[in-house]
Symmetry: C2
Subunit: 448 residues, 2 copies
């Protein structure tokens, strides 16, 4: 069997590896001049950093096994030494960065938030993440935004700020952009909210020595990957399929696996045309909006102040930071996330103003030493032609109940994969690997 | 000045006509082998019908003037002789089809609906349709779906059914798919809800003798329109722009006007790339889902039963019908609309089952004579490669407030037009003409 995989991200490479292991002839076509997709290596002050997907953690069993298999090592995210900074209403507090920990709020806000988290958790546990549209209350849950749920179920400003931060961190979109049902299904597929957002015992627990991009690079080493080969169209008929690049190269196949983000799959041309429901689906799965900003300093000076480099704030544009200093080096590196609505405003500013606002956040959280980084970098994922957003896709109200069941459904000889298609850990590297392996099995079964 | 207009729908042709009148050299590139875009002629039982945009009415001053200027005539939609059929909860009632008329419901449902309409109207009048995101309450109104508003403000099942029907009729989407702010702005831009949905003194008042497609056909007659020329990419730099077709033909221009539905503008390639905000916008403006079904009969037999061929039902898939019989002929023709969620389910059925369900509706409304049409036709607009949906685009929550201000903003030498871009009567033929004329002025001003 011949298979063409479109996209050399983690899903595409994982699919290709499984297919090759099962005896298929596989060509991976990659638009960029590098592999990795939304995993991308960079460097700051001479040290490797992750411009895209960075962390693995609790529940990411496939990723840990893969890292091991590829001869790579992990190291813990800088977390335990020093405290997390919380900024709400311009008032700063510190707390240990522990899974499930809640900031010290006044008793009323605390009770409100605790009750909101309990209600949310109970609702999420009632959802089957593989088929959220089959929930008895699916229509009602998919008829409202996450924001509507927050307004109804959380009364305090600080409690609401917590849930807003959750929406931004998980979807790089605002709570008003997303269907409640999608938020619930997304969390249900990853276990629980507390694990998803935590470093300690959470999804951000570990990093890969040398950078996470080594994973796709090593995976690709034994595969037939054609870089710089953006695909223009996919054709199929009863006898077979072919993938044609923008440059006009044609690759024949029995099956095709398209691993682009769902919204970008709508931009390829298909012969025959995609059926109307699949086309309409791709009109309604926007990618999140997120930029990462990095600043390097001679030392991780915040550590000397009892801070661990992590900040969470309700004031943008940078509302979340981490210490991503290279292990064993003297320098300190901060990463800041600009997510959702913040990113949509920030990205329209001129570069100097963008930098000023980003650095301002670092200074507010960690002090004036942050004002003069030795290097500063930005990575806006919605500006990338072949991603057009990160981390994953979100569903507005109504989309999951009307289109959810066709998301993963192959169209003839064309199969779909990518982190967005995973039932578990959708939108994470773990989900990408899972989806790639699942689609490989699907392709093998379909070709019998 | 040289201008390339992409798309020979009503907006593109209107723009081209204005530009030519101002001395520009204009080429219109049309992907299809016909002009008209979402206006399309067809025939049933040997008589012309409209497979796309059909009616003009109250408030469509530009359209009436254009019809006149092109030497065409209008005739009234069949309305006054006979009653409208209302079916709610499988119970049928009849009423005169009059603007603002409300079905005879029980007093509680009637009061509930009347109050809902009053509240909705008051809220809509507070919105500036050109800049809805500047409303003092914009964020709150854009944080919820229209469905959330209905659930909160309308209590009776029949009152809610009325508003659901409104969402489907205006957006060919369900109330849960759409931001409340967008519904309000859309209605504010067209005057009032009652006019929009009415035949009598409403937007469906008149039809064009010979079919509405004569409008774009006559407009195109004096223009340089290249049919069968789907565009692949648009390039621009400081010196000029060029539009390149899929076949590789290149058209140089000073300015380019792209009149595709917003979601399809995201599928063209641009050099330089679209800025991230514009690309993300195009990921979030899905087209509605609607199919039209037509059935012809030896006579308009429903007229003999005191019915005017109009039905509104809460049971799908065909929830709305009209009498579109050719004037002066003996035969009768019914049109049925399958909209929103109904269309999304119906379009996945096999053709025989689709027809059976559609005809079932006609039988339920008008009697067993409807069971055996002399001809039956379907037109699913989401299956059309170069429309991928109808009538217009809808905005999910959060999109208008974060992206509304860039919708109409040119990107360098590229300008945007189409019914979706109109401030008044967006999504109607009137809006398409308005948008085309506005963009012509914008292009002329930009080139000074």
């Amino acid at each position: 069997m011949r298979v063409v995989v479109v996209g050399a991200g983690l899903a595409g490479l994982s699919a290709a590896k499984e297919l090759v292991a099962s005896g298929a002839e596989v060509v991976v076509l990659e638009a960029r001049d590098r592999v990795g997709g939304r995993m991308m290596g960079g460097s700051i002050a001479g040290h490797p950093i992750e411009l895209g997907g960075t962390w693995i953690g609790e529940g990411h069993e496939r990723m840990y096994a893969l890292v091991d298999e590829l001869g790579l090592q992990t190291f813990p995210t800088w977390n335990d030494e020093g405290e997390l900074l919380i900024e709400l209403g311009r008032k700063q507090r510190r707390m240990a960065s522990r899974k499930g920990a809640i900031p010290r709020l006044n008793p009323i806000a605390l009770a409100d938030l605790a009750q909101g988290l309990t209600r949310f958790g109970r609702l999420a546990r009632s959802i089957n993440p593989a088929t959220p549209w089959t929930h008895p209350d699916a229509i009602r849950l998919d008829s409202q935004t996450f924001e509507t749920w927050i307004q109804r179920n959380v009364r305090s400003g600080k409690g609401r700020a917590y849930f807003h931060a959750v929406a931004e961190a998980l979807f790089s979109a605002d709570a008003r952009d997303i269907s409640l049902l999608h938020v619930l299904a997304y969390v249900a597929g990853s276990g629980d909210l507390e694990t998803m957002i935590a470093v300690d015992q959470g999804a951000q627990k570990d990093r890969v020595v040398g950078g996470s991009v080594l994973i796709p690079e090593r995976l690709a080493a034994s595969l037939d990957v054609r870089l710089g080969s953006p695909v223009a169209s996919v054709v199929q008929d009863g006898a077979g399929a072919a993938v044609i690049t923008r440059a006009g190269e044609r690759f024949e196949a029995d099956r095709v696996v398209v691993t682009l983000p769902p919204t970008l799959t709508g931009r390829l041309r298909y012969e025959p045309l995609m059926p109307p429901w699949r086309d309409q689906l791709t009109q309604q799965v926007p990618a999140g909006t997120v930029a990462k900003v990095f600043a390097s300093y001679p030392t991780p000076f915040w550590r000397g102040k009892g801070l661990n480099g992590q900040a969470v704030s309700d004031a943008g544009p940078v509302k979340v930071t981490f210490d991503v200093s290279p292990p064993g080096a003297e320098i300190g590196v901060l990463i800041g996330f600009v997510e959702g609505g913040e990113a949509r405003r920030w990205q329209r500013l001129d570069p100097a103003e963008r930098r000023r606002q980003a650095i301002d956040g670092f200074v507010r959280y960690f002090g004036t030493e942050a004002a003069s980084p030795t290097e500063y970098l930005e990575q806006d994922w919605s500006a990338e032609e072949f991603s057009r957003g990160c981390y994953g896709a979100h569903f507005a109200p109504g989309v999951l109940t009307d289109y959810g069941d066709i998301l993963r459904e192959p169209v003839g000889r064309i199969h779909w994969a990518g982190a967005e298609y995973a039932v578990e850990w959708a939108g994470y590297m773990e989900g990408a690997v899972l989806s790639g392996r699942d689609v490989a099995r699907e392709v093998l079964a379909a070709n019998k």
